[in-house]
């Protein structure tokens, strides 16, 4: 066992040094900026597109007093459900030829009018392309009804006393924490998976694999490579978390203290987050190292990356089913399935205060890490080094 660990350490030390001391590690540290920047970019584009295309504009052809009452009703409603969710209304004074005015407005591009509301508040009628938009019709009915009321400008007084938490808010906050933790775990592992898959390409392409295979067990090499990558990623994680906390402290009032507290408390949750990150990485890493070891070139690794990414997304989606209902059948299934177990259990830590399921889950996940590594090493010896006698597939696991 000591030989095994020393061999793994030799590989881990070489890989860790080669990774961390390379110039490309700087790019690796900057990697989270890219999804953040992409998210921001696509978010702003999406918001702009939504702003331009999704909010219908209705031209209101009515006397100024009617339009003012309608606008006041809209302002009141926008306080409740938000301005973005409401139909835009633009007022026009009635012209002599109302039919011609409607046609002109419906053909208008500035603003792009979806419908024309005429007839004032007493005899309203709507003309427009509204076949697939019952919400706009419903909103207009509500606005007209409110506008007809005499006291639309004065909402009833409702005194509010704020408390820190209530059951409803706590569950929602913890579900948010659970979802955020799962998402972070997923993206971190996703980012590392391609790197892990290409871990053996260097050794295979420069032929040093032969020297290593003659000096140690292949599973010791696998373990060394996996833990080198884990150590490098933990180093990066420390940098990312520190930078993230600093950023949050600067941009969010109350800093990290304002985040919703998980069910097991912050210290326990952070400890579990580190453990589950390690387990998630080791489980996916062992599987991807095994898959990547079959590849001979970087091109083959790239080809494998896409299906592997989709598989990870499916597993992430499976783990996400446990949020809000960790004790459901789906929740337990996601916790039991090795590859979704760390993400599921981290979400559980945010929502449930019990500790024993975590101890069982960590043990269960560790067993699977060992099994996948063992199987991966055997597969590598069998398929890459072409070692061992030929066995029927049902005896392969015992080869």
């Amino acid at each position: 066992m000591m030989r095994f660990l020393l061999s793994a350490f030799v590989i881990a030390r070489r890989d860790f040094t080669a990774t961390v001391l390379s110039k490309t590690f700087i790019f690796f540290l900057l990697a989270p900026l890219f999804p953040v920047a992409m998210g921001g970019l696509f978010g702003s584009i999406g918001a702009r597109v939504a702003n331009q295309t999704e909010r219908p504009v209705v031209a209101v052809v009515a006397p100024k007093s009617d339009f003012a009452r309608l606008a006041a009703a809209r302002d009141q409603l926008s306080e409740a459900i938000g301005d973005q969710a409401l139909v835009r209304i633009v007022g026009y004074s009635p012209e002599r030829d109302l039919a011609a005015q409607e046609r002109k407005l419906l053909a208008s591009r500035k603003p792009p009018v979806r419908a024309v509301l005429g007839g004032g508040l007493e005899h309203p009628r709507l003309v427009g392309a509204l076949g697939s938009d019952p919400a706009t019709v419903g909103q207009l009915k509500l606005l007209i009804a409110n506008a007809r009321e005499a006291h639309t400008g004065e909402p009833p007084d409702l005194p509010v006393t704020d408390v820190h938490v209530s059951t409803g808010s706590l569950e929602a906050d913890r579900a948010t924490t659970a979802w955020a933790a799962q998402a972070v775990l997923f993206f971190l592992t996703l980012m590392l998976s391609t790197m892990v898959m290409s871990q053996l390409i260097e050794e295979k392409s420069n032929k040093i694999i032969e020297v290593i295979a003659a000096a140690m067990r292949i599973d010791a090499m696998f373990v060394g490579k996996l833990f080198a990558m884990l150590a490098a990623s933990v180093l990066a994680l420390v940098v990312w978390i520190s930078a993230g906390a600093l950023l949050l402290q600067m941009v969010k009032h109350g800093g990290v203290q304002s985040l919703p507290t998980p069910a097991v408390g912050w210290p326990g949750f952070l400890a579990l987050a580190i453990i589950y990150f390690g387990m998630n990485y080791l489980l996916f890493g062992a599987a991807f190292l095994m898959i990547g070891a079959q590849a001979s070139t970087a091109r083959e690794v790239q080809t494998m990356s896409l299906p592997v990414t989709f598989a990870q997304m499916l597993i992430f989606a499976f783990a996400a089913t446990a949020i809000n209902s960790p004790d459901s059948a789906e929740g337990w299934a996601a916790a039991a399935f090795p590859l979704s177990s760390p993400m599921t259990m981290l979400a559980r830590a945010a929502e449930q205060p019990n500790w024993w399921p975590h101890l069982a889950a960590i043990l269960w996940q560790a067993i699977w890490v060992a099994l996948i590594l063992r199987f991966g090493a055997k597969l590598f010896r069998k398929t890459v080094l072409k070692s061992g006698p030929r066995l029927p597939w049902w005896r392969f696991g015992r080869a």
């Binding site: 030799v10 420069n206 040093i208 020297v211 000096a215 010896r381 070692s387 030929r390």
Partner: protein, 319 residues
């Protein structure tokens, strides 16, 4: 040089013992029942054309691959990887990390075999200095020539002072000067009690270095034993030049005698040279020159492995 601690073994006369090793790759049988015994402290050559099964045999002996059937005992262990700290291995396809410094690469290879990195660096500096590469210790592998990188890997093979050194086609890619240096290094290691096994398809290297050889052809051992024993499988060759072109002396020549230019060439008869000389003199041959040549390893190889295998070896890239 200090060696790794010896292990108690029932029979340490042989560093390597292989029995009926077989290796199949799919439907192809690469090694077909090879048995070897490599005496401890000897220089042992595996001789054969490319594709004969030499590398596969070495990889099985080292535990890189498992045999389909058969067994092997390496430094007394039936699992060769258990003896890995006492073995040095230079594979046929050389490989080092291109971004590593030469001294780091040597020390890393030692660390793979259990040598602490600090000690590895110290020994690497000494070895590089000894081999005239002292100035190159801090250069990266990618900045070295192919030959120099090969020397670096060779030094990495012996850095941990192994008891068994396995070299797969070690002379391939080396110029004549470095081939000479490598031959000297092999002899020096053997003098200090290290067992050296190397594979080659160049007969001259085996002839100069090896005490024992195994001639491998088509995955089988065609001959296994001392180089002298291989030569002894053939009779000496007689080259005779006479003043008389014909006469009674011709009856003294054996049946297989043939003309090569001005000479008669034939195998020395089993009775030895004296009756032959007497018959030639009595028959009035007028002996101008008579040379008795001991057959070389190449002749023995042709006789053992066949002309086809010898022709394949001759076709391969000369070293």
């Amino acid at each position: 040089m200090l060696r790794q601690p010896q292990h108690n073994r029932a029979d340490d006369r042989f560093a390597v013992e292989a029995t009926d090793l077989v290796k199949d790759f799919g439907e192809t049988r690469a090694v077909d029942g090879i048995s070897l015994r490599v005496p401890t402290g000897s220089i042992y050559g595996l001789l054969g054309p490319n594709g004969a099964g030499k590398t596969t045999t070495l990889r099985m002996l080292l535990g890189i691959i498992d045999p389909s059937s058969g067994s092997r005992l390496v430094l007394g262990r039936d699992r060769p990887l258990d003896a890995a700290p006492e073995i040095g291995y230079l594979p046929e396809e050389r490989g080092l990390y291109p971004a590593m410094q030469a001294r780091e690469a040597i020390a890393f290879m030692g660390s793979l075999r259990g040598l602490p990195m600090a000690e590895g660096r110290r020994r690497a500096d000494a070895l590089l200095e000894e081999h005239g590469l002292g100035d190159w210790g801090k250069k990266t592998i990618r900045s070295l020539s192919k030959g120099m990188a090969q020397i670096v890997q060779l030094l990495g093979t012996i850095i941990h002072k192994p008891r068994l050194i396995v070299l797969d086609e070690p002379f391939a890619g080396l110029d004549a000067i470095n081939q000479g240096k490598l031959e000297e290094l092999i002899r020096r290691e053997a003098r200090s009690g290290v067992t050296v096994i190397f594979s080659t398809h160049v007969i001259a290297h085996a002839e100069r270095l090896c005490e024992e050889i195994a001639i491998i052809a088509k995955g089988r051992v065609a001959f296994h034993g001392r180089v002298d024993d291989a030569r002894a499988k053939l009779n000496s060759i007689v080259r005779l030049r006479t003043r008389a072109s014909d006469g009674p002396w011709r009856s003294a020549l054996p049946a297989g005698a043939r003309r090569e230019g001005d000479e008669w060439v034939f195998e020395l008869p089993a009775a030895g040279p004296e009756p032959l000389l007497r018959a030639l003199i009595d028959g009035g041959a007028g002996i101008e020159t008579l040379a008795i040549e001991r057959p070389g390893l190449h002749d023995a190889f042709v006789a053992i492995a066949g002309n086809k295998a010898a022709a394949e070896m001759a076709k391969e890239k000369p070293q």
